[in-house]
Symmetry: C2
Subunit: 127 residues, 2 copies
């Protein structure tokens, strides 16, 4: 359940670098596409343009997602959490996907922590 | 698509505080329940016990989610992203929900950035 709220960007808690983590979630299937960072300016640009902007920590600049690749993200809904220090962006992903590798999601590396169970599952035929 | 990988915890990039952001996602409906932080020890405990452990930044201690509330999180799958600095936990949420407020998800505050569209949608009856 979501509640609309009288939002002020000043209510959000940005960290010591002026950043807040933002999770991009596919608006249709709910898959988590990426986690990136926003400063106030990138959040304001996102709200104003409905094109998701992040802060690039490696390049120290505002980054309109997909500006060079074409894999832009269109904002559908935005929420923040109970302690005001994280954001979820419900987005429509354009182009080839969210990840620079070409994958739809950046979270494609699975930690295989339960090999035995997985093998058992694979070997059990469905009768 | 997910790929199993030869995982070493040393491959992950922990920040200057020794932490990595971890997103807890409901394993059945894909909803994002919370974002919290892990250090190496909490990640190892999570993998070993299948009970999700975080690092509490406010209390500076390992925190087994639900230890006092009963709202524990059982690990189903765990993935990390393309630059090894964020984690997604696919979990079964027990108890009343992930949030200390009693909500299922901590992300219940919606930023109402498109009031006009929403009102239009509400006023259109389904015929």
């Amino acid at each position: 359940m979501a509640y609309s709220t009288n939002f002020s960007i000043e209510d959000l808690h940005f960290d010591n670098y002026g950043l807040i983590p933002a999770i991009a979630q596919d608006w249709l299937d709910g898959s988590i596409l990426m986690l990136a960072w926003m400063n106030k300016e990138s959040l304001i640009k996102t709200l104003e343009t409905k094109n998701v902007h992040y802060w690039s920590r490696s390049r120290s600049e505002i980054w309109r997602k997909g500006a060079t690749s074409g894999s832009i993200q269109l904002l559908k809904e935005i929420r923040f959490d109970c302690d005001n220090d994280a954001i979820v962006l419900s987005i429509e992903q354009k182009g080839s996907g969210a990840c620079h590798t070409g994958e739809k999601s950046c979270f494609f590396n699975e930690i295989d922590n339960n090999v035995t169970n997985k093998k058992e599952k694979k070997n059990k035929p469905i009768l």
